[in-house]
Amino acid sequence: MNKVIYADNAATTAMSDKAIGAMLPYLKEVYGNPSSLYSAGQVAKEALEEARAKIAKYLNAEPREIYFTSGGSEADNQALRSLALNGERKGKKHIISTAFEHHAVLHVLKKLEKEGFEVTYLDVHENGLVTAEQVEKAIRPDTAFVTVMYANNEVGTIQPVREIGEVCKRFNVPFHTDAVQAVGHIPVDVKADNIDLLSLSAHKFHGPKGVGALYCRRGIPLVTLIEGGAQESGRRAGTENVGGIVSMSVALGEACENMSANTEKLIKLRDKLIDGLTKIPHSKLNGDRNARLPSNVNISFEGVEGESLILDLNQRGICVSSGSACTTASLEPSHVLLALGLPHEVAHGSLRLSLSEYNTEEEIDYILGEVPKVIEIWRERSPFWEDLTTGKRKHFI
């Protein structure tokens, strides 16, 4: 097989043809500034508002509750900064979250801690799931807000968002969810799910990079991160990325309209991968098997190191990612895998394969043929594996 097999769709996705096509007119003919009053500007403005309405529709929100951002990270930052300030004004400086949030949430929380907030990080257990009961127990009179991700980006576990939102609603605590991995992949309904604020990113569902949105329920004040013009109801300055935003709305429409067909296909491919790869001795699926994104596979292989697996698989035309420390500058393995209770040495040997509907069964078969070979080669060369097989060290898996 000569072509590249892309199995890292949780990192980013290929744009769909429709999403690319939708963007082009706004890069060529319709280049007007939506704030301009002549026709070229107003046409762009109309396209922008159509996109807003479309995105709102797919989330079951109102168009005016959608704020366009540069992506998921900005949406997370704006949501958390806003909720922190709103809480602080009422003397509430306690936050509830989880230990395995995306860094766009975690790093804001760390900063807020330095600014005098107290954060309760809920245990995500071995299966990568929190419960609504945990949230309820953690709520205090001074809780400013709750932020729990919809689906985890590394292990793919889907949190009981609706139940968590219900608890928050009952206690009148605002609830934000980072839904970057969920929107366009599994049903998300801000009303039914009791969500007050939600972050999403276009490039996770075959849309363009550099575009995202923040849903903020009417009545919840937002702070501005970027000062300037009056775009986005004065909550986010800067001339809008019209082509990107239109393209995002088209990609989301496509993803939502095809969701059930995609899900059916993906679950089949995912389960084939999980069943095949966990046949490798001393391997383990990370994250709950059932409450899991249709696209996500995350497996630890004992005795090997993730980066060498990625580099080797890359040479075989397979693109995946790892929870290994060596893929980052920090030298620490994935905080998500550590939060699930994996020892450092096992977290280093983890692979994440995240699929999209563009993957084929033939590709899955090729992956299932190559990964066991790669694991065997690197175990053969690993003194850590030698220690495990000779009994000098105990197996964890």
Partner: protein, 148 residues
């Protein structure tokens, strides 16, 4: 620019001297699993010359390449020369390593030194202790890195 040089990728893809020497004269093992890298070097020494060298490494691409290059650099050399091998020389021979991967070349230097020390100890050869400083405590370094 790619993360790794072509030379690193060459030594990663086709590692030289990978394996074990069953009747090795000296074995050195450094690093730890918790930090994601363990390097084990086997030496065969005759008349003070390193006649054969093999390695086994658990680690990332640069750890594999550093082990491979380090074994190439000391093969056929007198033991005294192997002791002079620096991590910088290993990294340079690989056309450089990314800054946060330099510790991999340090491991290679330390693994070789540990293997020579093992050879000296096994054969009752006297040596100056100062030639063999304690290997870096990686965990401490990692804690530091995490703080940043």
């Amino acid at each position: 620019m790619a993360l790794y040089s072509e030379k690193v990728m060459d030594h990663f893809t086709n590692p030289r001297n990978v394996g074990k020497i069953e009747d090795a004269d000296g074995i050195g093992e450094v690093g730890n699993a918790k930090c994601g890298d363990i390097m084990k070097i086997y030496l065969k020494i005759e008349n003070d010359i390193i006649t054969d060298v093999k390695f086994n490494t658990f680690g990332c691409g640069s750890a594999i390449a550093s082990s491979s290059m380090a074994t190439e650099l000391i093969k056929g050399k007198p033991v005294s020369e192997a002791l002079e091998l620096t991590n910088k020389a290993v990294a340079e021979a690989l056309d450089g390593l990314p800054a946060h991967k330099m510790h991999c070349s340090v491991l290679a230097e330390e693994a070789i030194r540990a293997a020579v020390k093992d050879y000296y100890d096994k054969n009752g050869i006297a040596y100056d202790e100062s030639q063999f400083p304690e290997p870096h405590n990686e965990e401490e370094e990692h804690d530091f890195a995490e703080e940043e």
